[in-house]
């Protein structure tokens, strides 16, 4: 088994775990962790793609690595935003489950 194949399989496994968590886990924090796992899986996938694209004496195609770095920045920003929202939600309501999907409350009479 080549390194690219191992990368690809690990990536696929992480993506699978991440998708499962995103769909099934009711708590937003778990969903967020699942999103990060899923993201990690995709970045590995990019790594596998880079290995397959190796040529001209290079160990790998550098473009996917640039894409991974950009993707990491985006994922970090998204995670920070989600954590900030989670903390604010916990402060405001003491509960952070999205399980029951309560109907949207009307705006307060102000």
């Amino acid at each position: 088994m080549t390194a690219a194949e191992i990368f690809g399989l690990c990536g696929a496994a992480l993506v699978g775990v991440g998708v499962y968590g995103l769909v099934i886990a009711p708590e937003p924090l778990r969903k967020l962790l699942a999103f990060n796992l899923l993201g990690g899986g995709i970045f590995l996938l990019f790594g596998a793609v880079a290995r397959r694209g190796a040529g001209a004496g290079l160990g790998g195609d550098p473009v996917p690595q640039a894409l991974v770095i950009t993707g990491l920045v985006v994922a970090v920003a998204a995670t920070a935003l989600a954590v900030a929202l989670l903390l604010r939600l916990f402060e405001a309501s003491g509960d952070v489950s999205l399980r029951n999907d309560p109907p949207p409350a009307p705006e307060p009479e102000s």
């Binding site: 969903k31 999103f35 996938l45 473009v63 998204a78 989600a82 929202l85 409350a105």
Partner: protein, 587 residues
Amino acid sequence: MSAVEVSTAGGTWLVLAILLPVIAMLLAAAAGGRHVERIALATVPAGLAVAIAIASGVVESGAPLVYVLGGWSPPLGVALRADGLAAAMMLVIAVVVAAVALFARADFHVAAGAPETRAPDAFWILLLSIWSALNAVFVTGDLFTGYVALELLTFGGVPLVCLDGRAETLAAALRYLLFALVGSVFYLVGCALLYGAGGTLDMALLAARLTPSPTVVVAASLMTIGLLAKTALFPLHLWLPPAHAGAPPAASAVLSALVVKGSFFLVVRLWFAVMPAIPGGAAAQLLAALGAGAIVVGNLVALRQERLKLLVAYSTVAQIGYLFLMFPLALDASGRLLSGGALAGGILQAMAHATAKAGMFMAAGLMYAALGHDRITGLRGIARAQPLSVLTFAVGGLALMGLPPSGAYAAKELLLGAASASGQWWWGLVLQAGGVLTAAYLVLVLAHATAAPDAPLAPRQAIARGRELAALFLALTSLLLGLGGWGALLPIPGGSVSPGLSLDGLMKSLWPLLGGGVLALLLGRWDERLPRALAGAGLGALRRAALVGGGALVQLDERLRRWPVAGLSLLLLTILFGAALAAGGSP
């Protein structure tokens, strides 16, 4: 290896379209306080001028404007390209941003000497960031740049949902963010796979290199479904109604008119620019079928809403469905997508919806401000107290319904033409039914708003005339959009579409009001007088039956909007899309 691509004359405008709002954002964030609003308002005319410059550049040269970043031609570098579609969308978006900014001045104004507060600062900066991200989505020539722009758009849209910081709105924002993130990772996997298949993510180069293969099929279905989740196409609309429930009207206008158009536009790019060579007949039919589901469920559930704001939100769910009807209509005989009348119709529909719906959300917000609530059954007398707001709602609704010479009318003509040319009469039926369904909630709201009040209305606060005019301006823009011709920017067969300004045409497009009126009577929310009158006319049983049906639809919508169900629909749809793409097929 293809020829080296170089920047065209006027290509710098594309950079300005993205950078101008970003510079303003940074300045505003640094200056703070009262300057934030001033900087944002000063950016609006400049941004509008840039959009006009790009549109006129495209019209003059008759070719896309291109800017190659750093002089590095793709595949090594990244190109920005603005064709007619992008130019048209940027123009409309700039107009909507301008009107929203004028409207929002009252809500997010920091008075002299007042302490700095978070919501106004955040609103203006977010508005600029959304504008910049949208322009980036429109001009990107690279799928990965598209991904980054789309994420920026989401990061700008999410905080708009929870500007007031109440728990419900925070939960709605979190729900939106998490679901949008699922969509973006799906898109990102697709990018990785396409890079593996084509060795580039430049749209034009990929289009030449891609051939139908399992990798491409998987990538295309993942990317499409991820984008649909961000666009809130039925049944992936779990985040949209709660997001609108508590957002300020200006924020709702931005979310519904602008933010969902970004991911929609990338679907268009993916299908028409990247994979036109991949036969997608069955998959295009599936896209339009989801659109038809959105039209029926969104419009009928809109009729059952208690609050005006949510009625407008559900009408957005339905209108998003319209945007996807163009895909099967653009197919040629061999199952490939052609950039022709159907595409022009879809883009025109998006432009018409952006303007009309922003105006309607603003009008609904002004009625809320005057009444202190927005219960539809409590709107009696508002037409007398605030005629301009009600007029805006009516004009916006008529424009969406497809009254000539509205943009929606031109779009409908183009799509109906494509439907009859390709023999797909069933999508023509859906288009016509959509007009009736749109008319239904329009009639419902107007009937309540124009009814005589039991007691004279005393508005809770005076509404500035300028805000009403900003909303009315947008609704009128949508109503007159069809006069624009648009042949210079959009691929309209024969050059332009007739505005349909004949008495005959007007009469023909008014009949949906009749059908809509009947639907509104049967399904809408009324006070106790109407059911009694219906029962007197022997129609009580009919209304009860309709209400049972309506209740079932509301239940269905509520189930579909639960997380696990929406997540499973997402996976199921991805598999279905993959299967449909693999099957290929012609219309």
